[in-house]
Amino acid sequence: MVTESDTESIQVEIVPSRFLMPVTAQKLLNEIYGNGGIIRIMIHGPNLPRSVPYGPGRGAPIEENRGLLIEVAGQAFELCVKVGRIRLELESDKYFDGLKAACERALPFTFQIRRGKFFHTKPTITDYAKYGKMGDARILGLIDPKAKNDRLAILSEERVTITDEER
């Protein structure tokens, strides 16, 4: 019989029932950070372009999507997406209840939180083509294959690789 180790890392997905405004996203991320135990975290949602991407108004600036700065754990970065989903890996199971409580404190509406497997473990062809051999396996699953190299954020207690910017 195999007994699972209670120190094994767990992966969690948080899906709020609404898209978050930057203020709420900042509050939630800080609460999550305060809970501790984060190995890696990814924020996900629809893109917020800086200018109209196509159509007759192509190139017109979208001021509302510019300068959406948030500060998490003393580190400021610019949001490029409307936060709609957060995936993270925790060091162990013991941080899960605290994470749920953190979401309840930060979010004024309902949300779903679930455990599962959300980050892939082997590099995809795209990963290999864009980044070559990856030294740190924690980057896997944090990279948007369609995004440019600089559009990546890794917020962790230990700062890990690649450019420390938004996704």
Partner: protein, 255 residues
């Protein structure tokens, strides 16, 4: 007895609302000035001349045709206006209208228009001065909730996404915004070009009102079968089954 179209079966509120949309017997909820509607459409500046593709019909000397004698041209067609469009995106979170029902409304009630139905958006094309009238009718009536529906000529996605925190439908281009006074303001035209002023579209519907006016059957709202646990399905489902049967067995020929 004079024939009275039934439009849509069923006794559910959604069925009733669908009948209202199709028949054009809609409640007027707001009055957005015509100049503002024209500005949001973005095809011409309010007050500017209409561009035309041909001379007015009276000057063209039309051929002797019985159909042309029976059917009076619309104002836009008579003047030779260009064909323009307005396109709507309705949130699946209980927006009052859906692409199909906007198209039914257009095809049944709007003369000389060409409705196009897509999964997440709906476009109506018509001569410019006609489409301006039709668009204003859509804006002013209960077909539209200013938070859950918006006019989007491009970058239309948002209908199947979660709402924003303030109850607005997500819009990548931020064409509308919720003001501090609780009113929704249009800040850009339908293709995302900033307007020279903010246009007040009024207050959005409450969630309860949107559910009351919606034409969307949803398991977490009102299911198509009618009230859960009822002994009999709503007529809408029976009619649908009937059509499905006729169509499957013999080809659809409603007689």
């Amino acid at each position: 007895m004079a024939y009275k179209p039934q439009f849509y079966p069923g006794t559910t509120t959604v069925g009733i609302n669908r009948r209202k949309h199709m028949s054009g017997n809609l409640e007027k909820l707001r009055d957005i000035p015509e100049a503002d509607v024209v500005a949001i459409m973005g095809h011409r500046a309010p007050g500017a001349d209409y561009s035309s593709t041909h001379p007015p019909l009276k000057e063209m000397g039309e051929p002797d045709c019985p159909i042309r004698q029976i059917v009076a041209p619309t104002a836009g067609a008579a003047a030779g206006d260009r064909v323009r469009y307005s396109q709507w995106t309705d949130s699946m979170y209980f927006a009052p209208s859906t692409p199909y029902w906007r198209s039914y409304w257009g095809a049944i009630n709007c003369k000389g228009c060409d409705p196009g139905t897509l999964s997440g958006r709906q476009i109506i094309e018509a001569r410019e001065r006609d489409i301006e009238i039709y668009t204003k009718q859509q804006y002013d009536s209960e077909m539209t909730d200013v938070a859950l529906c918006s006019m989007r000529g491009c970058t239309v996605h948002g209908h199947s996404l979660r709402l924003e925190e303030n109850g607005m439908q997500f819009d990548m281009l931020s064409r509308t915004e919720m003001g501090k006074d609780g009113n929704v303001y249009a800040t850009k035209d339908q293709v995302g070009i900033p307007l020279d002023r903010k246009i007040n579209l009024g207050k959005p519907m409450t969630e309860a009102e949107a559910k009351k006016r919606t034409t969307i059957f949803r398991a977490d709202g009102l299911p198509m079968c009618g009230k859960a646990g009822a002994r009999k399905y709503d007529e809408a489902v029976e009619a649908l089954h009937h059509m499905w049967e006729l169509r499957s067995k013999w080809g659809f020929r409603p007689e």
